[in-house]
């Protein structure tokens, strides 16, 4: 197989890459890890006229402390997210979820920014961004703007990025004290897309009462799906089996899985219920243990 002909440009600077993107708009695609774009080009599902390779822009590859949170450059490889000590310490949810993303040779190339900009609703990382309340920085020749994760994902493979914008950086806010997180998924084989996956975040306050919770799902709709009502149902009381069962039941109604050849909608909803209960139990235990 061969991709359709295109013009390849290895970016010499962020400015020149953004200028070319502004010039060519939707006819140009940024090439980061290429683990989604190049298969699409090999199948000729994607036929960009210009490919702007941002791999030379090392300044987009970083993990930095920002207050108690993290700022992660768009070109940061999944491999780094899996191994970085600061990520493991401050965002254990990311450390737990990334090994589910495809296979090591794919994670060696695939990047955080590329994954999020690709916006595959079955992918793990977009759901994590919702669960963690991330902000995403879009940069263009005109300037920059921050986009909340909940506003970023608009549909299957569709984001809020404009034709001249590059996703440059992601900010993950600090987890409050006594916050427990958990990611779980069910896939047919290791490294396959999840039939259903859930990211749970639970913060406990006085007397172990839940003060904040988030639940986000992958492969549960046209975008990563946040189950806000289910999470809200947890807030205000200690999280026991009763609350966990209620929240899981609400989440099962809140998500909108499409079903596919491997898993019917009903089965996906069933998995969401099981995974939500398990992930919440684990997240609560971790919160009680200090997060």
């Amino acid at each position: 197989m061969k991709p359709a002909p295109f013009r390849y440009v290895a970016a010499e600077s962020l400015e020149s890459a953004l200028a070319l993107k502004a010039e060519h708009g939707d006819d140009a695609r940024f090439l980061a890890g290429g683990q989604s774009l190049i298969p699409a080009m090999n199948f000729r599902l994607a036929q960009p006229a210009v490919v702007l390779d941002i791999n030379p822009l090392r300044e987009l590859d970083f993990v930095r402390a920002a207050g108690g949170g993290l700022r992660i450059g768009a070109l940061t490889r999944n491999r780094t997210l899996e191994r970085d000590a600061l990520v493991a310490q401050r965002q254990p949810l990311v450390r737990e979820a990334v090994p589910h993303v495809a296979h090591p040779p794919i994670r060696n190339r695939g990047t955080l920014g590329g994954n999020l900009a690709h916006a595959d609703p079955a992918s793990e990382l977009p759901a994590l961004m919702l669960a963690l309340g991330a902000r995403l920085r879009a940069q263009s020749a005109r300037g920059e703007r921050w986009i909340e994760a909940r506003d970023f994902f608009r549909g299957v493979f569709t984001t809020a990025l404009r034709a001249d914008e590059l996703l440059a950086e992601v900010e993950l806010p600090e987890l409050p004290p006594r916050t427990g997180t958990c990611f779980m998924e069910v896939a047919r084989r290791r490294g396959d897309y999840a039939m259903m996956g859930v990211a749970a975040v639970v913060t406990l306050g006085e007397a172990d009462r839940c003060t904040h919770a988030r639940l986000a799902y992958c492969n549960a709709g046209a975008t990563p799906v946040s189950a806000a009502s289910a999470a809200q149902a947890l807030v205000g009381s200690p999280v026991g089996e009763g609350q966990i069962h209620d929240a899981a039941a609400i989440a099962q109604r809140e998500i909108d899985p499409h079903g596919n050849v491997h898993a019917s909608k009903a089965f996906q909803r069933h998995l969401a219920g099981v995974l939500t209960r398990r992930a919440l139990r684990t997240a609560v235990d971790r919160a009680k243990a200090g997060g």
Binding site: M1, K2, P3, A4, P5, F6, R7, Y8, A10, L31, G34, Q35, I38, P39, M41, N42, F43, V51, D53, N55, R79, A102, H103, P104, P105, I106, N108, R109, R189, R190, G191
Partner: protein, 164 residues
Amino acid sequence: MTAELHAITTTVNGTRYSRRVESRLLLSDFIRHELGLTGTRVGCEHGVCGACTILYDGLPARSCLMFAAQANGHEITTVEGLAPERGRLDPLQEAFRAAHGLQCGYCTPGILLTMKAFLAENPSPSEGEVREALSGNLCRCTGYQHIVDAVLLAAARLRGESPA
């Protein structure tokens, strides 16, 4: 569109090559057709099967999911670069021979390079860890058991143990 050519210099198995390549030439096709190193196999061409796996700057990567133009200034190892010299095999290759870790052999180069990097990082893997590390490489002949055996044997030998 007239084909636009890019001058690249890349080091493959320790040898520097300078070529002019079309934008859309995949790294896998460059290695096979331009350099004649046909040990790198082409299977699915969308990153799933693992047959085209090479070491790119020391790390396993799918050569079908990269363009040759990207390899400018980078270092590549293919299966031809594993053995230390003609007539000798890498310990990993030796173990695959000893444990019958291949049948048709089509997937083997990708598996060898993936496992080479895996064992460098994890010299004492459990069977489960080996299976997980192999999960991105499809083999349709063996059922994987002898591949797992071969990797565990190689790991033991590299640690200086001599398993029964």
